[in-house]
């Protein structure tokens, strides 16, 4: 079953006295159950707006949003979701433990289970030492951790996170990544928005790039990267390396010779096979053969730049 589907969503903000502002213009995507989906887009692309639609905070002008097959407006859809807002705000008058208890009760967790599950969550996000401190004294990163803890209350099948890694130090980032991978192992579905590309690269099964109110590029990481092989680089070593490399100059993008080393760059994968075959009868050795793909960052910048 698909965890999230958005079909042809149009949405515009209609501020009083101001011109209406179209944010989403035909957004469609689907998130498979049990996968991690990275939702990329520049500032103001409409990531947060999309997430608000998933939570039924706002309603689409046209189009449908479903959560595990239920319309997002259906109250039952809410019980599948754990949601972490960007820059989450908390009640200044509650400490972390009281807050998590309050949300657990709203979520309908058994009273008997609440205490131990709250303790577990605090430990999971590394706030066990600050559980009784007023949340008003929390640093941003601590708020982020509490934000994740409250999203995981009640063991939701779908966790939606709006820029979860913002404000985190490298250790926190690492900890979050481990938590996300554990959740995936447990069969949970994760959907998160971000600008931080390394997080997407190491985590996501699928990424979608949001631009001009639509998904302009979507695919598994491998697909996105494979469709963007820039060149293949082959490093040869030996006294005859330079002469060997020269033979391919006409088919190559470039040949660089440096003492006994020659570097060959070419775009065609088939050329690699030919080179390997030719090497068999020569004294030249191949030191490395590497495909240089565009990184997701390049792809993202490419798409973002060409709007």
């Amino acid at each position: 079953m698909t965890a999230i589907t958005c079909k042809d969503i149009h949405f515009s903000y209609k501020p009083a006295f101001l011109k209406r502002y179209d944010v989403l213009k035909g957004l469609s995507f689907a998130v498979a159950e049990g996968s991690i989906y990275g939702f990329l887009g520049i500032n103001g692309a409409g990531k947060t707006t999309t997430i608000k639609l998933l939570n039924n905070f706002i309603k689409p002008d046209t189009g449908t949003v479903t959560i595990f097959g239920l319309d997002a407006r259906d109250i039952r859809a809410r019980s599948f979701i754990g949601y972490m807002p960007e820059n989450p705000g908390f009640y200044a008058y509650l400490n972390a433990r009281e807050f998590l208890t309050f949300i657990s009760r709203l979520k309908g967790t058994d009273r008997a289970e609440i205490k131990s599950s709250v303790d577990d969550l605090l430990r999971l996000v590394g706030l066990e030492g600050h559980a009784d401190m007023p949340v008003s004294r929390y640093s941003k990163g601590m708020g982020q951790r509490l934000g994740l803890a409250q999203a995981l209350i009640g063991n939701p099948a779908l966790v939606i996170l709006d820029e979860p890694m913002a404000n985190l130090d490298p250790i926190g980032r690492r900890a979050f990544r481990d938590i996300f991978l554990t959740l995936k192992e447990q069969g949970k579905t994760l959907f998160f928005s971000t600008h931080i590309i390394p997080d997407v690269e190491t985590l996501c099964d699928k990424v979608g790039i949001l631009m001009n109110g639509m998904i302009v590029k979507e695919g598994s990481l491998d697909d996105l990267i494979a469709s963007h092989i820039e060149y293949i680089e082959c490093i040869l070593r030996g006294r005859e390396a330079a002469a060997f490399a020269e033979r391919y100059r006409s088919q190559a993008l470039g040949v660089t010779v440096q003492a006994d080393n020659a570097i060959l760059r070419f775009a065609d994968e088939k050329l690699a096979d030919a080179i390997v075959r030719d090497l068999a009868g020569s004294t030249v050795r191949m030191v490395s053969l590497e495909a240089h793909t565009q990184s997701l960052e390049d792809i993202f910048l490419h798409v973002a730049g060409g709007r």
């Binding site: 706002i58 019980s79 807002p85 509650l94 709203l106």
Partner: protein
């Protein structure tokens, strides 16, 4: 109903951890102490003056608490975005609004109990206490006093509903507080529109004034302070009418709030 009560209890918790409640109660205490000093100077009128002052303080300070707490109770959730953490759970929007409202009503009851106890004690000190003197012309009607306090609670419930309604519309809690206070002041004079009605003789003016009369909250009819001092207690029919009026008015505003909030974009 369970969700509503969880939200109501959290709202109450927020209110009683708010400094404003204690500051106001403290100011009220100062007021009562001052009345103990002033009253003996009003020879022969002590009983009337102490009741007047105590009830006026009680009314004023409870209204202050209700306006401040009542207008921030929704607004703060929206401003801090904590509302997102609630409405992303299986909680319906009307449950949120009704929970907030009931939390405020609980707060009303608690502060009126505390203030009421203070007022009764304050009056007892004069009535039965050290200043007891034989030339008192008045007596204290405790039953009427407590009845007046109960109707004060109803007045606060209506005010809660007004502030709730404004805080779902207004874009800042200060604005909400100003509107609520304004409507409270107007509400205290709504009954006087009757006087105006007797003076105008044009039919369309009469119609407009009658409409306004019925739309505006008629808070002064719930104000039984003066009657209480003279020991006048509303009979059953009058009391039933007042209770019904207050509950219907508050209920109507609650429904309006729920409808407004149901379509609100949560940002």
């Amino acid at each position: 109903m369970k969700k509503v009560s969880i939200i109501a209890m959290n709202t109450l918790k927020e209110a009683i951890r708010d400094r404003i409640v204690y500051v106001t109660l403290f100011l009220m205490l100062l007021g009562l102490l001052a009345s103990q000093v002033i009253t003996p100077l009003t020879l022969g009128e002590q009983i009337k003056v102490i009741q007047d002052l105590s009830l006026a303080f009680m009314n004023f300070f409870s209204v202050v608490i209700v306006i401040f707490v009542g207008t921030s109770v929704i607004r703060r959730e929206l401003d801090l975005k904590t509302i997102q953490l609630i409405l992303s759970r299986p909680v319906r929007r009307y449950q949120f609004i009704v929970g907030k409202f009931l939390g405020m009503v609980l707060l009303d009851i608690i502060i009126l109990f505390i203030m009421g106890a203070g007022v009764i004690l304050n009056i007892l000190l004069i009535d039965k206490g050290i200043y007891y003197s034989m030339w008192y012309f008045h007596e204290v009607h405790y039953r009427a006093l407590i009845t007046a306090m109960a109707f004060m609670a109803l007045q606060l419930v209506v005010l809660n509903a007004i502030s709730l309604c404004f805080s779902t519309i207004a874009s800042s809690s200060v604005l909400g507080a100003i509107f609520t206070f304004f409507l409270y002041m107007v509400g205290m004079f709504t009954q006087d529109l009757n006087v105006l009605l007797k003076m105008v003789h044009t039919s369309y003016l009469t119609f407009i004034i009658t409409c306004i009369y019925y739309i505006l909250p008629n808070l002064s009819i719930l104000d039984l302070k003066n009657q209480a001092i003279y020991g006048i207690v509303p009979n059953f029919n009058q009391a039933a009418f007042l209770v019904l009026y207050a509950l219907l008015y508050a209920g109507f505003l609650l429904i309006v709030s729920v409808l407004l909030f149901g379509n609100k974009e949560i940002k």
